[in-house]
Amino acid sequence: MPSRANLASVWALMRKATNEVVRVPGAAIPGILAPTIFMLGLTSVFGKLTLLPGFATDEYMTFILPVSLMQGAGFTGAATGVNLARDIELGWFDRLILAPPPRWVLLTGTVLSASLRALMPITVLLIVGFAFGVNFPGVGGLALAVLLSCAFAATAASWGVMLALRFKTQSAAPLMQAGIFMAVLFTASYAPLELLTGWLHDVAEINPVTQIIDAVRQGFIGNVTWGDTLPGLAALAGLLGLLYGLALRGLHRVGA
């Protein structure tokens, strides 16, 4: 059971991460800009794919927006790993690890800060998407999309933290970002699963992030159902549990 002091430590770490955004707002811009550009750009380029028989919607941006939400949340999470690597390089992490809170508290505060920060790209993407005519998924669908995206940011942050603790250098940043890139895009991201070709179809079928994207996407292209929601929640819980566990193991090994 987390004590009041532990919760206060988690909150302090989340506030530290949000302070960085407030004090260096320019640093947050690429994380917001990149998924927005991808959403608008991919719609411009691949928009006519909706003419293919079997496409789930006739508005490509409606189809791609959930992918951009995951991308924005994922890259925000990966940035948490890069920031931790920077803190390790600068020596701030050494001081943090000597602090009284248990290590799971330090990790929880760090990964939850990613969920909080992910609200920025998520909000911008939704505003831009709705401005360009994306279908409104209903209050329930919207809440589910935001919740799953924020939880995915925590998952990506666990991945980033795990790598930061392993490599202890910002040079590992491309690995953190490439992992998220593959996890999100090696799914039914550009087209429904049955329209994917070659190896991508096979990879997307077994990639758990496909289930998460389907759960985020359902409200935008149809109705929210338990049948689409539960596999997404299960996949997300499994991924988060696994990566959080690995990151925590890495954290326990520091100084051991």
């Binding site: 320019g26 811009i29 690429p30 800009l33 990149a34 550009i37 991808f38 608008l40 750009g41 991919l42 719609t43 411009s44 380029v45 691949f46 928009g47 006519k48 794919l49 003419l51 293919l52 910002q170 040079s171 940043a173 491309p174 690995l175 490439a178 890139f181 593959m182 895009l185 090696f186 991201s189 550009y190 087209a191 329209l195 994917l196 070709t197 070659g198 190896w199 991508l200 179809h201 990879v203």
Partner: protein
């Protein structure tokens, strides 16, 4: 030793240093190779059925069509990476020491551009090899293969000059890094990834005038359709436009930097 020979030696030394730098730091190589390759994989598998669209040009496969886009993306990112490296050299004072050395100032930038050109050629070889392994056909045969490598190398140098101009003007790696997203704006508003006629508006109209479309189509032609002088000349025109802008801006930024001391 003549002045020209001395300049060439300095260019070669600086170029070799820059290529080594790229291979030693994964954060410089990843944007040139890793991300465009991943993007190629996703585009090909995700949008591969696009060749079934009624007005899609007849090609052997979508991979053949996509290779040019990936190479152009790689060269643009190579240009930005070159700019970041140059800016880092400015930040650590390396460029100041070169300026104080008895070498022509333009040689400092040319060394970096030669390295970017080499990285561009290596990137072309990488993508063509990956393409051939995964079943792409090069309709232009060996001459087409060589033409693609040449065009991609020149394209990398042209974008390297734009990156160098940004680095010389700002002197900060973070500023040059900030233009990464703009690379994708330029790419998405061109025919790098999809035929012009199948883009949505306003991208379709902008792509008609975007030099990137000329370059991408010139690189694509020998791969997907066969040798065509018209497309090659248009690609060279596009590269010339980008290179001329980059060279003019670099020259102006270098002069401004020297004036400000």
């Amino acid at each position: 030793m003549s002045g020209l020979a001395a300049d060439l030696r300095v260019i070669a030394a600086l170029g070799r240093r820059a290529v080594n730098q790229a291979f030693r730091r994964p954060q410089f190589l990843a944007p040139i190779v890793v991300f465009p390759t991943l993007f190629l994989a996703v585009n090909t598998g995700g949008a591969g059925r696009a060749i079934d669209l009624p007005s899609f040009p007849h090609v052997h496969g979508f991979l053949d069509f996509q290779l040019a886009g990936s190479m152009v993306q790689s060269t643009m990112l190579a240009g930005v990476s070159a700019g970041i490296s140059l800016a880092l050299d400015i930040e650590i004072g390396f460029i100041d020491r070169l300026i104080a050395a008895p070498v022509r100032r333009s040689v400092i930038v040319l060394g970096r551009l030669v390295a970017t050109m080499v990285l561009g050629a290596l990137s072309a070889l990488w993508f063509l090899t990956v393409g051939l392994i995964f079943g792409a056909h090069i309709q232009g045969g060996v001459p087409g293969f060589l033409l693609v490598v040449l065009l991609v190398a020149l394209c990398a140098a042209a974008f390297g000059s734009v990156g160098a101009a940004l680095a010389l003007k700002s002197g900060k790696a973070s500023v040059v890094q900030g233009i990464f997203p703009l690379v994708f704006v330029v790419l998405f508003l061109s025919s790098a990834y999809f035929p012009r006629d199948l883009l949505l508006q306003p991208a379709e109209t902008i792509a008609q005038w975007n030099p990137m479309s000329f370059i991408a189509e010139g690189i694509r032609e020998p791969i997907a359709f066969g040798m065509d002088t018209g497309h090659t000349l248009k690609a060279l025109l596009g590269i010339g436009i980008v290179g001329a802008i980059g060279a003019a801006l670099s020259s102006w930024a270098l002069r401004a930097r020297l004036r400000s001391g």
